[in-house]
Symmetry: C2
Subunit: 257 residues, 2 copies
DNA sequence: ATGTGTTTCAAACGATCGTTTGATAGCGGG
DNA sequence: CCCGCTATCAAACGATCGTTTGAAACACAT
């Protein structure tokens, strides 16, 4: 397992049914001369997609930043959408691999007991938060954090990348939080990942708003803050309505008016 | 106070220094005949900005959905950017007013003691979460939740809308969490708002992924989940390093490899 | 040198974008 | 009746978008 670096087949653009007009065969990504232009395009696209947005970043801006020709994008990737997929796939694989490595190490080290909730959360959070330690990783962190809260045509692509992590972490959380209903557990994990996404996608706003007090690029602090906050939330007593019909809908501000 | 419905001055488009060529005077938004087209444009833009994105929604899509002419946008708002600002301003004002009302009611009801952490969080979360109860509000909820995690040219516009809420809620949280350092408090409130944003911007993904178990449109459940989770996180013991140099940077997965 | 396949380039394609224009209705008060 | 004002409309503006094309530049085995 731990697959992260497969190269897709030719992946010819869905248009043009007569596929092979001049030259379109994808090239082996390892030990290739043209890797220069390809990775330059990936780096530039990663940075610009993060700074602006996929929709508001033009291929001309990308190729200008990468010092390449416009047609190079379609030659190496086929289309703008597949360029996005390539940018995303290049970095999310290693992150998820580190997550699964960390989880498995914890499980075997603690067996037959269970690892601590904090350790499991750390294994999930740290590889992603560590992206913000490097400039390129920080660009990708903004991209991934932003893509998770905006579903466009790329949502299914993104979702698939995280299936393995979800499948392996969820049972562990279920065992570590036996007193929580499934709905409670899912809600709270959702909130924890929301916190992670918010930090990943931050672009100096939090640091500026706090006068440098809270720094999303301080990986160690970020990890401990998210882990301790989420662990405390997961340990909160279960809500009143397990899966009841509509039990307990307390709504405030009916005081006056 | 509680200002939410001020109309901006003429707000002439920054181009064309000789401003008044044919007809550009903004109209009084109350008791006006043309409110029809104006609000139809606002409604359509609100929905489409939420479904797609600001950048990937064209004015022609908006005017087609609003059954209006292309030029109507520039006649009533001046530009696409000011249309976004109008869409945002129309709904965020009442939400923040309800938040401040709720907070003040809590403060006077509990005086001279302090209200509970849960009640203050509820006053902050409920008015926003309640947006998801109506289709139009749900569109705006997606828009606001998404805009907060993506900073474009509209970030300063958005930030200004929330200044009042921030200024009035923050001192209360400081008093309610006296054992937390400022950095800890800001981090954890940031996480709580991240959870809120994630729920607001959800577009059926969570419900579909959980088989209907977690429904972002079930306002009562959402509020209680966010409030209890965030309150538990805020009550977690303070982290080791208050503002220390680099204390405690435990990094896992140094097991093998 | 020749041939083959890969990579890069300038230039153009049609489509769509935000914005502007000038004319055309509707409607009030003089 | 005509005038000033508001609102809407069809049509076009220049700019920029993603994509395609065909040829040049390059590498390298024979």
């Amino acid at each position: 397992m731990l697959d992260s670096d497969d190269q897709q087949p030719p992946a010819q653009p869905p248009a043009s049914p007569a596929a092979e007009s001049p030259a379109r065969g994808q090239v082996d990504p390892s030990s290739d001369v043209s890797r220069d232009t390809r990775t330059r395009l990936l780096d530039a696209a990663e940075r610009l997609f993060a700074e602006r947005t996929f929709a508001s970043t033009s291929l001309r801006q990308i190729t200008a930043a990468a010092d390449a020709n416009i047609a190079a994008v379609h030659y190496h990737f086929g289309s703008k959408d597949e360029l996005f997929r390539a940018v995303f796939h290049r970095r999310v694989g290693p992150v998820n691999d580190r997550r699964l490595q960390g989880l498995r190490a914890l499980l075997t080290a603690a067996a037959p007991a269970e690892p601590s909730l904090e350790d499991v959360l750390r294994a999930l959070v740290e590889p992603a938060a560590a992206l913000r330690a490097t400039p390129a990783g920080r660009s990708f962190a903004c991209l991934i954090g932003r893509s998770l809260s905006a579903d466009g045509p790329h949502w299914k692509t993104i979702e698939r990348e995280f299936e393995g992590v979800k499948a392996e972490f969820m049972p562990v959380f279920v065992r570590l939080c036996p007193e929580l209903s499934t709905a409670d557990l899912v809600w709270r994990l959702h909130f924890g990942l929301a916190s992670l996404c918010m930090v990943l996608s931050d672009t100096d706003r939090l640091r500026l708003a706090t006068g440098g007090l809270c720094d999303p690029d301080d990986v160690g602090t970020v990890v401990e803050q998210i882990v301790s906050f989420t662990a405390a939330g997961l340990r909160a007593p279960a809500t009143a309505s397990p899966t009841g019909p509509r039990a307990g809908r307390p709504s405030n501000l009916d005081s006056d008016r």
